[in-house]
Symmetry: C2
Subunit: 635 residues, 2 copies
Amino acid sequence: MEQILGPAVPSSRAVLRPIGIQDVVITGGPLARWQRINHEASIPLGLEQMERSGALPNLRRAGGEGDGPFQGYRFQDSDLYKQLEAIAWEHVRAPQPLYAEFAEQAAAVLERAQRPDGYLNSHYQVVKPDKIYAELEYSHEMYCAGHLLQAAVAAARAGIGDGLLAVARRLAGHLVEVFLTGGNDGIDGHAEVETALVELYRLTGERTYLELAGNLIDSRGKGLIADSGMGMLYAQDHLPVRDADTPVGHAVRQLYLESGIVDVYLETGDESLLECSVRRWEDMVATKTYITGGNGSRHDGEAFGERYELPPDRAYSESCAAIAGIHWNWRLLLATGQGRYADLIERTLYNAFAASTSADGVRFFYVNPLQRRDDLVEDAYLGRRREWFACACCPPNIMRLVASLSGYVATKTESGLQVHQYVPGTVQAGEGAPARLKIDTDYPWDGLIRVTVEEAPAGEWELALRIPAWSESTLAGLSWDEPGDARPAQPGEDGYFRIRRQWRHGETVELRLDLTPRHTYPHRRIDAVRGCVAIERGPLVYCFEQADQARGVEVDDLALSPGARLRVVPVANLEGVGRTVLIETEAAAVDQPRGGLPYTSQPFAAGTLVTATAVPYFQWDNRDGGTMRVWLPLA
Amino acid sequence: MEQILGPAVPSSRAVLRPIGIQDVVITGGPLARWQRINHEASIPLGLEQMERSGALPNLRRAGGEGDGPFQGYRFQDSDLYKQLEAIAWEHVRAPQPLYAEFAEQAAAVLERAQRPDGYLNSHYQVVKPDKIYAELEYSHEMYCAGHLLQAAVAAARAGIGDGLLAVARRLAGHLVEVFLTGGNDGIDGHAEVETALVELYRLTGERTYLELAGNLIDSRGKGLIADSGMGMLYAQDHLPVRDADTPVGHAVRQLYLESGIVDVYLETGDESLLECSVRRWEDMVATKTYITGGNGSRHDGEAFGERYELPPDRAYSESCAAIAGIHWNWRLLLATGQGRYADLIERTLYNAFAASTSADGVRFFYVNPLQRRDDLVEDAYLGRRREWFACACCPPNIMRLVASLSGYVATKTESGLQVHQYVPGTVQAGEGAPARLKIDTDYPWDGLIRVTVEEAPAGEWELALRIPAWSESTLAGLSWDEPGDARPAQPGEDGYFRIRRQWRHGETVELRLDLTPRHTYPHRRIDAVRGCVAIERGPLVYCFEQADQARGVEVDDLALSPGARLRVVPVANLEGVGRTVLIETEAAAVDQPRGGLPYTSQPFAAGTLVTATAVPYFQWDNRDGGTMRVWLPLA
């Protein structure tokens, strides 16, 4: 079987097949920058934290080394597993002896920590050995196991961490013995292991892993998860997955669960699983997704809210939810070939996800709001980005996604290649396959994308290029046409512009996506941003930060006129931020005096005209920590 | 000393002196209805719950009777204390042998439970005797003690529950020994005991109680309260009270603390305490108060939010916060004589507070949002009102306020009477004092208030009638003028219309408050209701409930035109609700289709005209549990 080095490698039932990390090279643009920063700053910080935060010491303790107290949360092991997955993908992309060494040492620690029967969880082994599998509603035992399985699959594909796979298989075998053949009908309160079990099945061919994943999914909604005190919706146990119409409860749990559901569909062909997941996706997109692609409207329970409950200031939009959303969308894209999933990956990637990390890669947001007022910013999970968190689920999760980003760029079919995300670099179809593309672009700062066929297989094949839904008028220029004969690039219903032909080496398609900056209005049922407008350009959502405004202009006083022109201002190196494109526009500065109850018999008046400046949302909070708004009131 | 039977009876430093519950009789209108329902339905339910919820059994257990497990939260005792306070005030208003019996039995249980040294807290005595006063950040030991002190003061004033006062004094003495003279500098994470200690000082003259209250207040902001995991602001220990500019953290804690602060000022004359409390009041009113008078914008931490963070859907606006706010405003009113505090009492009373209880008095809201969407209403603390709660702080708190409502109607000075809240009934100045008013009114349904001087003291004295800030044009007719010669009633800067004269028996002032229904707009910095308008009439905030709309008209589709006329529609008995005044208006029904991301390049279009019907907010959720909105978008 062909070796695809990347996450989520489904069976042939997928409409599209992934192209591995080793076959896509990203040479420039923000994604290359994120990968460089991840390599140089984030991953070294993460590796250091594996000692400091207790993740490795806890596991050593479980293996009988040392006797310090257990540190951190009961899911502390998972930080290490995500970190291991991050360095595995990074090792495929840009090998480092350090990564292989770390993985080897970690594998040895895990081998020693693992019980002879395969069980492995440092918290329960050290702190609560009598409660193993007895409090699954909040134990995170299978959640941690899932992250270990994913790390082991990644390490095996990357060829590092000898022994990790064996540990993972023993643990998976233990889960199978207890929960599949052993009659224990427990389910972890935090979904994650489902998608991991399917991946391990894909790697090993061991069908009981897939069966267990399917069982865990089918068992939800029968009241098998005790209430952990967070209510019925929190762990998605309120309804069988085939009956639930809308994502609810803890957002990361729901989104990981969906990945597992689509993964099981991809291997078993159970259409009812794909259908229910798509139904919830459609509801989520229409009613529970931020303009940044983020999900999760409530701090309380880190949860999805009601339909259209999308407050910008109290948005939770957890970094992990952005990652989980990208995982889910990727599986739906593979399963269906529809560009709307790649569109949402792009939106989430460039906004909710990218905002999670500082420009220098050593500070992270857990929560990604769309507004910051200038009081009370000391809240631990709001305020500024932080180097680490007591609950550090996000930073290593961010690192594993960034390390694997090239795996999300393109896919292949029997008869062609599909480009989903535009990055400068090269894409080749895989081991020995002759198709090879070179992509030249300054995307997302510029809309011109030149795709050159550097190598082509014999015979007809099809190149499919995603036309993002936001691109109002896309032009395509073909190198075999007359010069300058660009034409409207009409995408198919699936969102792809397709050219099927017998390609010759060096032939080029020039795509011009429409990067005209645009005003965007919210659906009228989104109460929290009614009467507001946002600015977008290409895949980037913009925001107004206090740092970019003229002296005396307060972001909270600004109101935008939809008629005002949006001026594009490229900046080579904005201090603290780096390369960017700002947008300037005329705005009204409206100062409504404060005093007495803030409810009056007259609406507020128009203000004086000033220039307001917006910066891409993903680059926010790299200056002074002042006010920020994605949505501004309409003048 | 004159016996004033009511809560908060300050020293002569108060500008206004309270008139006790026994001297004000409310004979009609909503307040009389609430008192009747409280008497007939709520209090009986509450007394029953004192057994069922564990409050009494826990205390019996602490006294060595029985050996069942401790039930409920660590502050379970406080439910009983609030319930006792409720029946004490109710016993003044409408005596019942049952109340006296219950108070006597409870006093006996408390006597048996109290340790010889005076300590009393069933949770710590039964469950954690080794942790007494060791975890004050969340123990609620002083909080519970405070409620016991208040109950004992009320019972002593009402003449029931012999023995309660002795228990309370022993407990207060123990607190004094430990925390005033004993060198323990601990503070309870939940303020409450401060105002209670001052009240007990007022009743008993024991000055160490006042000193301890002052000490506890002065000790805040020095990091003496450990972080209970809720962050630095939660328990208001982030800054000394004299330095804090804005209310923060857990709303009920902040508001109880403010009552204690004003109470200490009232007894000691420390102006800096009054000043800081007024400063925070002004900030709270301008930036952190709902149109309903409710406070608390976040479920997370049951907390005040940032300035202007006032989401209607996720409003916390806890019933207990409304009560605590009324307590604070009442003390500020006594301390300053300014009508703005009585204005806010009225707003909170008729809206945030009154909404907490169902029309039949047996169901309660813990949280009082200004909007309910029609999905996911099963949330334990949202959704419909409930008979009781695991954390049942609100229901007995509601009962004690309703039982004492007549204490908030009027006050007196050396030279006059002040009427703050308009209710049909009688007010007399107190024991042996000759002044007696009769008030005839159908307020708040009608704006005509007739105040008749039934008895008058000799010499000149002043009648002061509050003119609510919302009354645009108030007329006054005086019985000693020519008939029909009503004149504009111009209030002074303090908000009162005053008449000073030598009154004769039977003289009448007819006040006509302006009950024209009005459109109200939010300050432009309140993001969550931007572009919206609300409807008010007199003190009542209105809301749109699905139950009142014509078939096919969805509340969530409605948009209001500020030009549309508001029609007043009195209804003698609306099913489930009782007597009310509805408001009808033309509205646009705008249906914006759902599908894809809810962010588009065009704002929504105008809709078709329909009739929309609004009902007073305090009467909501007495029908089918459907959609509700206080704020509607502007068409």
